[in-house]
Symmetry: C2
Subunit: 240 residues, 2 copies
DNA sequence: AAGTGGTCTAGACCACCAT
DNA sequence: TGGTGGTCTAGACCACTTA
């Protein structure tokens, strides 16, 4: 009776749960009803209900904790470092970056930015630039591009005085959760502006990462172009 | 009775299956017994048996086909292109690379190679260099390093006249299946030898990918250093 | 002790594939 | 038609957390 059907039963349950998550009816950090409760609510067996949740847990949208319950995932520092930050030292252990704001300005979408965000060229955007340091030295420049229409009233203060990660800010202030990203990497000659910030000589190679982030409804919500000095660091990925 | 226990029952079943796969008792391409059969053999319920297989299917070690059965995965061209080849055109569709052999020689492990393969410096190795072209132009140089002890009797002929992928050769000729890789990427100035092969000017930036491949027993079996011209192509990764 | 997720059972029925 | 994997049920019991 709970509306959505068509395919398998557990997929229907999954869609309903996903919609509640995407709409904000279930908020990040919140404890969701127990499996037994949900099973009776949806009028399915506990096995089917668990199967519906399994996928969401695998996508790290929900987090199961034995004895406590199932929670809606949040974007904490740890999650960022583990799943969304792929620059590591060539030697030594991964660590949290130290972030400094370079600027926050209004802009309009260039050809490249428009294409990657799926908006029209010339659409008003925010352009945020941050400098990230690892082990005391600048290693990475982030150029973040956002559609103004999707982030009404976003201010530099929010960006600069945030205690947590940027994805956490998106989640807290706008109810938008990044669940998936696509990254495209190239080797390029460093741009003069970036060279200065990274304290790199002109003409040196840098790694550029163009990352498109998607929310729970699979909409593009952010384009981030990272420029990385890979003299002492590198990009790491584990692939199946 | 089937030996291995300790944790959950389905993990035990999984370990036994995994051992049969790693030892070659179950070979790539082969149809494994049906779930009902395995369930009675292991003396577990069908649900538990399925749960044991679920993980292996997710790791793409087994492939389920409704109505037909469950098969041991093979390294065909499609799998390679989809899961182990991440260089795509900046514009247009992904395509199969055209591979040419540059050389096949015996060598000894350098510092870097030894570290990444987990062997001692100076250990005898094979060093294979291939040139890969996309859309008619050379884009990528692969430098493959293998521990001679792990690949006894490997010949250039096998490498050059192989109809399929290199991972397929490993599987057919040595019974070694690559199931997981780690990749580390940097931007570097192109090396003169590589520049010539890629028809790149000296001093241009290239993307280097250091990939370590692991088999089913989680042993390091191959180091592949790819040097990529990213003027018209790029490295693509989708991340959760 | 009560509530949660994690494991396991012993089936039934469906969808798909080969013959 | 018979065999396969895919879905679903209605429980039971275990491991863990909190009070």
């Amino acid at each position: 009776m709970n509306s959505l059907d068509g395919g398998p039963l557990y997929k229907g349950v999954q869609r309903v749960l996903m919609e509640q998550l995407a709409s904000g009816a279930l908020k990040p950090g919140q404890l969701i009803p127990s499996e037994r409760q949900l099973a009776t609510e949806f009028n399915v067996s506990i096995g089917t209900l668990r199967k519906a949740i399994d996928d969401l847990v695998e996508q790290r949208i929900l987090i199961r904790q034995q004895g406590k319950g199932t929670f809606v995932a949040t974007h904490d520092r740890e999650r960022l470092l583990f799943y969304f930050f792929h620059v590591v030292p060539q030697k030594g252990l991964k660590s949290y970056p130290f972030v400094e704001s370079v600027f926050f300005q209004k802009s309009v979408a260039s050809d490249d930015v428009a294409n990657r965000l799926g908006i029209a060229v010339g659409t008003p955007t925010f352009h945020v630039r941050n400098k990230l340091s690892l082990d005391g030295a600048p290693v990475l420049i982030d150029d973040i591009h956002l559609d103004q229409a999707r982030w009404p009233g976003l201010t530099p203060v929010q960006f600069k005085e945030r205690p947590n990660t940027i994805y956490n800010l998106y989640q807290d202030a706008f109810g938008i959760t990044v669940v998936r990203t696509e990254e495209r990497l190239r080797a390029e000659v460093v741009d003069p502006e970036h060279a200065k910030l990274l304290k790199l000589r002109a003409g040196m190679p840098v790694l550029t990462i163009r990352r498109t982030a998607f929310d729970m409804r699979n909409q593009r919500v952010e384009l981030r172009i990272s420029t990385v000095n890979t003299e002492k660091h590198e990009y790491f990925a584990e692939l199946l």
